[in-house]
Symmetry: C2
Subunit: 436 residues, 2 copies
């Protein structure tokens, strides 16, 4: 290696959290030391670590690193240039240690979406007022370098929309429901057995984890303060095999889809089940993979696909931020100074869309007329309708409707009117069809 | 806008080449001045331009910029911080002006793949020895931020392979051949009419343009000196509708596929027609869109998809490099110092692969035995074989074979043995099936 690549002082890391991701980072720093030094123009070293249990055998030798029981102490060490926060949790030690590092002007790299979704604005302001860098590539869509693509690659674009499938577990469940015909509950149990679920499963199946990611993307995309509380959240628990089969029949897949866009009325942030055409890249995304679609007014659609979780992919994203810092790339947390981010007005369902509507109607003459009148009276027109033959053992005649683009409010009005009649056997299921 | 975002001096651009891309950059700088300043922390301004024809109406007001007839003079202007080279051509003014800028320590942003494929090593060394930055995001895959993803996003990975569809015109022709049944020549003419072809069409359909891009990706991926001359090039001119239909029949699409990987024997760089599974992201890529798949030993597969050409997408990529410089991101051209790049041994067909083989056999007993013996004698085993019914008006019995993975040399030996018998009506067609 030429002498000049080592002319600069090593970048010294302190890593808090030695779970899968932490050990993935240690593995890379140990195994790829020469490659990293060559690329960064300086060595990248680990000087100290912290975790809950010191004694545990983790498969890689960490005896050469100083140990701190307290992550705050780790963050404040004089010999730590970059505090790498891989503990998780939106508050508690992760927040305290991150803040401690930033207040001393130390850079922080984190994979913690909950921390940033809840405290990103304050932490970014702390970082910037202390000349420190706070980066979080690994917090969004795992190994996909999506924050970099959005913040830097698309820096010359006005962003018009960001869409994505950002929870691998939900996508795995939905894909397997279609492939195997198993129900949601059986697949939830399978995921629990396979270790695919967070300790609190609602983080996955309730869309919370993916909602955290969406709120961070929205901030960078639109120059707004992170506002996770304004994300419209709906999980996948209510999706049935029947909906998946009917959607497939009409050329769609059901995905837990994150969508954020700036509208005339304010900022829309949704993480809800949606239908997407089965021929689209999002529709074709099977299993645990993530995909984010960035739409810019100059570049058009950029689709990014890759592993959303796992040791290697997440550690790869953490290393991307560390290598940026090693290369003296010093960017603001959200793509522009934190004190210039605006507080956008949150809006829900601001944009009209076509909807998929599944109705179970009693089987007698005239019921279809009542349904179509309810839609027509609310100004919702029908694009396609499909009536299925009645099951032998049930008085149910399922009817599927794909509407023309309509405001959600109009659809809700129509549904209310239908419920007011006596033709429905069960509450209607309405799922937005997102244009992708 | 807060005062601090304008605390730094403006970044002053000199743009040479006012074609589609140049005007796209001017449009962005004019229309998005505030957004760019907010994101970069300083204004981005154009101070001077150069092109062949001064008088031409270009749709945007360039009267406020100084004019230089000679791009070298533009590159050398005292008031130019970044020379933006959008003229094209591997030599001549583009090279002279780029070199002039770098020698004065001025940064250069270029969209010129031919220039870098032929002179990238020398220019990068000049840049780095003069403390200047030379960047080329727009040269590879248009609007897709692929150089950034590879150099920075995947900086913690050993890259194992890069694959991609990087010429939209070729992909358009192949897609339309399948969709419409029209032949290659008719679609070539259509592309010429639509303005989809370079002035020298061989740059597109001969794979040269895509080969330039591949050689740049290989350099960053593997830390090697750019070696375009070692790229194995084969265009799409010989692909027939019959091959496309047969491939589809067996679950494949034919793509002009770039593949580069480091093998035990050296660096493989191919830009040739290949079969890929029709269910893979590459197989599903229709029309003029580009896709690059980056494979890292930590992150796995990252798939990037977007527009490979056009005013907005290409200007977006140019702006990505400009904004990096405005943000004081100062990276080496190929991801590590140019004087540390190694000269890799070029190898062709280093890795075994399954092959698609189309044979036209005379229709008499025993011919199939001769073909299968030829394969067996060369050590090539057959995965699948399909014999088609004979056309009424021809003595041709087409036979399709998918082999098990085999070295290309073994396949060539088998083909030679077949040709030595009297069973073939036409030379066999052999196309590699790339694992994606």
């Amino acid at each position: 290696m030429p002498a000049n690549t080592h002319a600069k002082a090593p970048l010294r890391l302190g890593i808090a959290g030695l779970g899968t991701v932490g050990m993935g980072v240690i593995k890379i720093v140990q195994e790829k030391a020469d490659l990293l030094a060559l690329r960064a123009g300086r060595p990248v070293e680990i000087v100290a670590v912290s975790a809950r249990s010191k004694g545990k055998d983790r498969g890689y030798d960490i005896s050469g690193y100083a140990w701190e029981d307290d992550p705050v102490k780790l963050a404040q060490r004089d010999d730590v240039d970059v505090f790498v926060e891989l503990m998780g949790g939106s508050d508690g030690p992760a927040k305290a240690a991150t803040q401690a590092a930033l207040e001393l002007g130390k850079d922080v790299v984190t994979a913690n979406k909950a921390l940033l979704a809840h405290h990103g604005q304050a932490l970014a302001e702390t970082a910037e007022s202390h000349g420190a860098v706070l980066r979080f590539e690994a917090a969004v869509a795992g190994g996909i370098p999506v924050m970099k693509a959005l913040t830097e690659g698309l820096a010359g674009n006005g962003i018009t929309r960001v869409i994505g499938v950002m929870n691998g577990t939900c996508n795995y469940i939905l894909t397997r429901m279609e492939a195997t015909g198993q129900g949601y509950n059986a697949l939830f149990d399978e995921c629990a057995r396979l270790g695919y679920l967070e300790a609190d499963p609602q983080l996955d199946v309730g869309g919370i984890d993916a909602g955290h990611k969406l709120s961070l993307l929205a901030s960078v995309a639109f120059g707004t303060k992170v506002n996770f509380d304004a994300v419209e959240l709906e999980g996948i628990e209510r999706i049935t095999n029947q909906d998946i089969a009917h959607a497939a029949d009409m050329g769609y897949k059901i995905k837990l889809l994150g969508v954020t866009q700036m509208t005339d009325r304010g900022l829309e942030q949704r993480m809800t089940p949606c239908l997407v055409p089965d021929t689209s890249p999002l529709g074709q995304l099977d299993g645990g993979t993530n995909m984010v679609v960035l739409e810019g007014d100059e570049v058009g659609q950029i689709v990014l696909r890759g592993a959303g979780a796992g040791m290697g992919p997440t550690a790869s994203a953490v290393m991307s931020d560390i290598m940026d810092i090693a290369r003296d790339i010093r960017l603001t947390t959200f793509g522009q100074p934190a004190n210039t981010l605006i507080a956008a007005t949150p809006v829900m369902d601001a944009t009209p869309a076509p909807y998929y509507l599944r109705l179970e109607l009693i089987d007698k003459p005239g019921v279809l007329a009542k349904v179509t009148s309810a839609l027509g009276d609310a100004g919702v027109s029908i694009d396609r309708m499909r009536q299925y033959g009645q099951d032998d053992d049930a008085d149910v005649a399922p009817v599927l409707i794909v509407t023309d683009p309509a405001p959600r409010a109009a659809l809700d009005e129509a549904i209310e009117a239908m419920v007011g009649t006596d033709v429905l056997i069960s509450p209607p299921v309405a799922i937005r069809i997102e244009k992708v």
